[in-house]
Symmetry: D2
Subunit: 313 residues, 4 copies
């Protein structure tokens, strides 16, 4: 009797999680947001859901962590749903930068000074300003509601310790936001925009939540269980394309070569990834490589993609 | 009776070629290689081949043009076949740069000073130095033979006017090569490396030649007619991934959003693209947008991809 | 009978002011602070005082204008008097940048990320944070008092319209200040530091005020009339050196070749300059060249320096 | 009886040379030209000549070393004498860069892509191309003759080992030269220009030779012994100004604050400096600080300038 792919995954995961976990000692937990430095450096967990709702969970999947940059995929989608492509791509470009996710060089060097793409910090701040809503509270509530819907988890909420820690120390993001304001990219109050941004970065999730959100993207915006179209197909396509070209910071090119799946990482160590038409994947491993991606998480996704030939290319 | 996709393409192409051609007047023919400035600014042609050898040809497909940067996909593949992944990726990275294809900024700013990827000029020069062969003549002959094999056109040859024009004026490429030499990326004589590089850039092709080469990539390295595996699967995967992330210079991200196909352009106005498992596509339109890609060619590929939902994403 | 130098200056100035004034039409009045755009584009005035208190006034010397960057010379001096060289040069460097006065590139590119010198915006903001005082009001009052003392003009005060205009629109300076905060250069509240900075930039002066301040520098910190040492000799030396290497933004090198005098310009069109041991010079001409210096003012100083061989070199 | 200044210098120098020499162990001998790495790391010597021909020699003044970047002051002067200011400053600017002496960033980033000043490598290469002469040999001979005249040493000649070592390894200078060629700054053959450049960098001198050349600059182009005007006054003024703003690489600003004298350093460890109207100074100390200047030499000049109040400012 041949095993189905999901049975083979289930069989192989325990040892792969353990071998990938060995990489944790090489990396470092993010410290630029003080609260994040408390994350367990040796943790690694993965949750995978298929179209029929079957799921596999391995490793430290009990761990809650903040979405950080992973949330940028969904604020991009919400901004597209709120404004359409033309408005959004008037404020952010579509190109990878080759620079660090928090670099400001190209804002000064390349005209017009709009962020190169919506997944670097400058771009995600610009996107935060495009979320519909009369004030930061309403905008933030709309983002949270959207993520509750996609994750099918109505209790999704902020980690207020991380939120305050980030809001207090995020001078580089503030610097970026004022630069964007000067370049005419941001409207209204910089602090209002940043509040929206800091809030969506500090939404607390588990691997299962990420996997559920990813599953919707894997099915082109449809919840495969209910059949409901939660996101227009075109905006999922845009999001997945950016996840390939810019999703893993300035290691996206390398990840595309080695894994070849749409993915988005956060400095909390989370990674959301997906196999189109098939799986939603949520992963966490707080120890980061020098580009800011979960070092063990990337290793684990490489093993999976190679073994099961998941690369899109 | 429903039309097959290829019949629908055939029916739609004439009007699309004409409407895309209107963009030619907005762009400019490349002039930095003097010989290229003679190209017909209003030309546009496309050739498409499917797995069964059926082909469609529309527009100015009689035009011969030099491969320029399109050849970089195949020197990368040959360098991988000659040296393996480890040696190649010790000399070039895997990341898009966000900079112009001929920029030298990151060679100075980012350590180690290796080219960010094999499809920018600096990277392709580094790749040229990795082609096996005892001297530039032998290396160049191996590249030409490889392209003759892939295009199934044994008469493929250099455009010596373009070669000489480029070799005489390519001071920026020379500058880059000496910088790479200083950074320890190039071994041996800089002029020898550049001879190989200028030669493969000046191989003269038609749209049909590019389509035939692309068809091999579309079939993971196999010639679909003969069934012969001309390129190992993994190296095609690497090439296709780079064509998505870096194939259209620093407009690759935008092309991925709007077209979503692996592609590589050249300043001669050529574009090689492919629909995985299905079509090889060769295209030419010498009028370039400001990022250096065929302005009408990109428009035409957008129309095709949107209509037939060819995006990988 | 031979004329003294000051008699010759007096004789020549009227025609030189008129011929230099012709340049005004080539330049532009600063507009990045909205209030400054109201300055009279065709104005040019100069005031010169010698050690005996003899003065010459020619052209539009009735014009009041804000000190803008000229004030940075004196906040540097006050910060040195308040903290000593070691503390000050731990926060700002001593090198010209070659970049625009409001560039942030080197803050990101060059470690440690301290401003290259105290006369570019980033450096002057860092200097503002070093002025002694329990709050922005006290710090600002100390700067104003210091300038009243040096100018021998107790009614020197802020132009509150310019202050508000700058405070409202200075998002790039805000961006810089938050970047400096992130780099550990600024202590305390960014907005507090910026208030001090915006205030000293908006102190309103005439050419005669600048000339009086310059005269103190020309006499190594001593008021030549009273003999009182208002600034320690060493700090005047430091200030004059920076005025040579960095005083005219990224046209300082050219100014040193063509004029060869310590000078500091402001985007209001003011220039403070001096002939060591001899003259204090105040000048205004709101029409700026593309580097941000008074276009007619620079021309006038070139004529004077060449005729009277004032270059230090 | 009071001592004259030169007697006081003579009395103080032995102990100052010894105490400055202690810094040698902190620095490093230049290694990018292999031959230079053989220089004695602990050496320090100084030679000083006054207007009457009185001279003081202390420390390792027997050491011969190559002029390297010090020669750039004199090729600039010769290019000015050969072409006039307009032609020269059409090819090189007048601004310090803030970047390393061998940086190419601004050639790409700042339009027009001419070197910022004649004392960085790119600028000096551009200057080499402006020396009159029918071929590299004649141009080089004219430079050598000029330096023999200024140093009053007819046996001044090349160190051919250093010349060959530099010519063989100077790929970064070659890269720069081809970039300049591409930017339209260089005419004719790049290798011809580089031959002139490498030759003048490898002229071998002693401290006494440098002091003699400096003495001519200190007297505005006149040999104080013979009264002969060897260089037009204006071109000496230009040279001295550049020595203040750009003479010590990207530590020129700091040197101006701490020493305040025109000076030019070379990676061989040599420094030429002068006290206007009074002294010519030649110095050598091959151990370099991280900006490329003689670490002990700078320390010694600081002690002298502070003690005798030599700063121009």
């Amino acid at each position: 009797m041949t095993l189905s792919e999901i049975e083979r995954i289930q069989a192989l995961l325990p040892q792969w999680v353990e071998s990938s976990r060995e990489q944790c000692s090489i990396g470092k937990v993010a410290s630029y947001i003080p609260e994040l430095s408390k994350s367990p450096i040796g943790a690694l967990g993965i949750h995978l859901i298929d179209s029929n709702g079957l799921s596999i969970s391995e490793g430290d999947t009990d761990l809650s962590f903040t979405m950080q940059s992973i949330s940028k995929v969904f604020t991009l989608i919400l901004a597209l749903m709120d404004n359409g492509e033309d408005v959004v791509f008037d404020k952010v470009g579509m190109e990878p930068t080759g620079d660090n996710f928090n670099s400001m060089l190209k804002l000064e060097l390349v005209q017009p000074g709009i962020p190169f793409n919506p997944l670097i910090n400058a771009g995600a701040i610009a996107i935060s300003s495009l979320i519909a809503g009369k004030d930061p509270a309403e905008k933030s509530a709309r983002v949270l509601d959207f993520l509750r819907l996609l994750s099918n988890n109505s209790s999704l909420d902020y980690d207020m310790d991380v939120y305050r820690s980030e809001a207090d120390t995020a001078n580089l993001n503030r610097s970026m936001a004022y630069f964007l304001k000067d370049n005419g990219v941001l409207q209204g109050s910089v602090e209002d925009v940043l509040e929206v941004y800091f809030r969506h970065c500090s939404i607390s999730v588990t691997c299962a939540d990420l996997a559920q959100m990813a599953l919707v993207l894997a099915h082109n915006g449809k919840n495969p269980t209910t059949g409901e179209q939660l996101i227009p197909r075109r905006f999922v396509q845009i999001a997945k394309t950016f996840m390939i070209t810019c999703g893993m910071y300035n290691a996206s090119g390398e990840f595309a070569i080695h894994v070849g799946l749409p993915a988005k990482s956060g400095v909390s160590g989370g990674i959301l990834s997906l196999v189109p038409g098939r799986y939603g994947i949520g992963l966490v491993g707080p120890s980061l490589n020098r580009k800011g991606n979960s070092i063990a998480g990337v290793a684990l996704l490489e093993s999976l993609s190679r073994e099961f030939e998941w690369s899109l290319f």
